[in-house]
Structure formats: structure tokens, C-alpha cells
Assembly symmetry: C3
Homo-oligomer: 141 residues x 3
């Protein structure tokens, strides 16, 4: 695999804003703090969620919207700069219902009820570039 | 979102005690080491699990007990001080059965079979205070 | 629980190789970089997955193969040295289908489509030794 050693910079914990979009507020935070590379993980609850699944044959995302309150059993992701140079929070999540059943995938959006996040930033920036093999925007390492 | 930059302190790996409560032993470790703020993630197996789901309308937890051996496919959480000043390990987990089906949520309790944890502590302490909007005890950042 | 304080060493981000085995390439990376202890988390997509569940009574793994494209909603794990002194990437994953349904467990193998990983290494090495109580190879801490 391609990899790159990075230099750890700052560490944050965050209490996410009730009623705001889960991913959007991570990106707003990244813009405000000038973060070009970071990883994060956390947990919480959302009031709904738009989950994306990548169709590997068609190279396109398929969205399923869950319009129901859900636990965020686990959220893992990273921050890097998209092809336009803007902070993008690549966010995956495992969500669950009252009976414990789990749904999971790429979290495009979700209205935060409560969220607790740990963010580890790096001195360097990571940039995404289009990848012909997969159709995704992958890190230029 | 509200956030706070913290200063990384110590890093631990742990092999959890067979037969002991998953969350309880994290809190016991935090008390012994005087930890007031940390994040953790890990994996393992449990012999049972009490999973909580937060009812956002009633502002109360609903418990489902799974009295069966389960993989801990992923465990993420954090340590902070609860409203009484005691270490509280906010612990979420994704569990799975032999056929791979997943259940997830807030892990209140679970009898450890095997557990491997990474804990990152901070110099500062994080304190929880009651939040009127959500009914939860959230970090004072 | 048994635990050990470790000294953080290097931090990496990786873009995993399309078409290569998910766990195998983490171990190849560990061998190349001489890593004796690390933790990691990440996300991505796989083209298939061999998920293991540990039968706590029989002390043996049960495998289920999912021959279908899946999101890697969350991957958490660690690197240590197995009983032969070789790097072993203990890898758990939560996977999901187009409709969001989740499957999870110990990820023995999976053909990578896209993968993004964060790896935190330590100066010390962690070694696994057979454990009589559980039948697993656990860290000697």
C-alpha cells in the first residue's frame, strides 16, 4: 500500500452542535482551524442519517435515508483537502436502533442530537486526486 | 461545534481481564492512574452485553440485554469526569454473532472474554455537566 | 486489566492497494517498516470478506465468507508480534451492504477496493503468547 509518515500536530475533543449536520460541522471546524490533514473517531446520536454505499461496478454512490433517531455506535473518518482544495471530512458511521440492529456505511449527512469527537491533526496537508481505477478521489501520498 | 485543544499525555495498551465487566475495568484503570480525560478504541469478545439506546423524545435510556457470546467488532469511547467527579468511560460498541449479523449501541455492561484496548490520555481533565437541550451530561469545554 | 504504557513513535496514513488483501498489506507494511507494536483505524470498501467469529466454548474460529462488495464502515485493529515473532495485524471490521445492513467481526481477509488507514506506532514491541483461559494468543504486558 502507499503510505506517508506524518507529523502529529494538535489534538482536540469536540462536543458537536445539537441540530447541526454531523459531517458539515466537522468541515466547518477544519476550515476555521486551517486543518489540511487529520483523523478522527467518536460516538453519539443522530436524529436521521443519509448513508451512502459505493457501487463498485458503476463507480457511483447509492444513498439510503434513515429518517429515524439512531445511536452513532462508532464514527471513524479523516480530514483532507478535496480536489478543489477545500477540507473534506470522509466520514463513516455505524448506527443503531432501539432493538440494537445496526446499519452502517459512508455518512453523507445526519442531524446531530449529541456527538463526542476526538480529532488528531497533522502538520502536513493531504490532497485528494481522482483515481482512474476506482473512480474515487484518493490521497496523493 | 464546541471544541477544546488538549495536550496529549500518556498512551497505554491493555489486555482486558477475562470475566470482568468491560466498562467497569476501564473506569477502575482510570481511577488507579488518575485519568481525567482520555479517548480509547479497541476490539475483542464478550460473553454478554447490555446495550443502551437513547430515546431522544423521552430523554431516557432503553436497555436491551444480549445474553450470548459476541465479537466486539469495534469499541470506541472516552473517559471524562461525571457530575460527581468520578471517571466515567463513555463506551460504544459494535457487536456481532457467528453469522456476522451486527448489533450496536451504548455499551453499559458486558462480561469480557478477551479485550484489547488502546487508551490515549490528556493532561487536562474533562468534566460533564447536565445539558438541558438533550437531557444528557455533556462536556464543559 | 493488564496494561502497559507505551511510547508513541511514528504516525502514518495509508491508501491501501486496490485488489490486494486488506490484512495482508497491513502486515507487509509492518514488516517493511520494522513495526513491533501499533494501533490503527480506518475505512473503505472491499470486494469480499472472510469474517471470523470466535467460538468461546470450542476455542476455535468460525469463518463466514461474504462474496459481495461491501463498505468498510469501520476498521479497528492493532499490530503486534505473533508467537513466531512475525507482525500480526489483529483486524476487526464493520461492513455494510447497499441497503445499509451491517455485518461485523474479525476480518481475516478481504480484497481491497479502496482503503484509508491511520497507523500509530510505538517504540516498544508487543508480543503474543498463548493464553490457557481463553485459547487465544494474548499480549504479554
Amino acid at each position: 500500500m502507499d503510505y506517508r509518515e506524518l507529523t502529529g500536530s494538535r489534538e482536540f475533543v469536540a462536543s458537536m452542535t445539537h441540530g447541526a449536520d454531523w459531517r458539515g460541522q466537522i468541515e466547518e471546524f477544519a476550515r476555521r482551524e486551517g486543518i489540511g490533514a487529520a483523523v478522527f473517531f467518536g460516538l453519539g446520536t443522530v436524529q436521521d442519517a443519509a448513508i451512502w454505499y459505493y457501487d463498485q461496478d458503476d463507480e457511483a454512490y447509492r444513498e439510503t435515508v434513515f429518517d429515524e433517531p439512531l445511536e452513532v455506535a462508532a464514527c471513524v473518518g479523516n480530514i483532507s483537502l478535496d480536489v478543489d482544495g477545500e477540507p473534506f471530512a470522509h466520514t463513516h458511521a455505524v448506527l443503531s436502533r432501539e432493538d440494537g440492529t445496526a446499519i452502517a456505511g459512508h455518512l453523507d449527512a445526519g442531524e446531530t442530537f449529541i456527538g463526542e469527537l476526538y480529532v488528531r491533526t497533522f502538520e502536513e496537508s493531504l490532497e485528494r486526486v481522482p483515481d482512474e481505477t476506482t473512480g474515487g478521489d484518493l490521497w496523493a501520498l
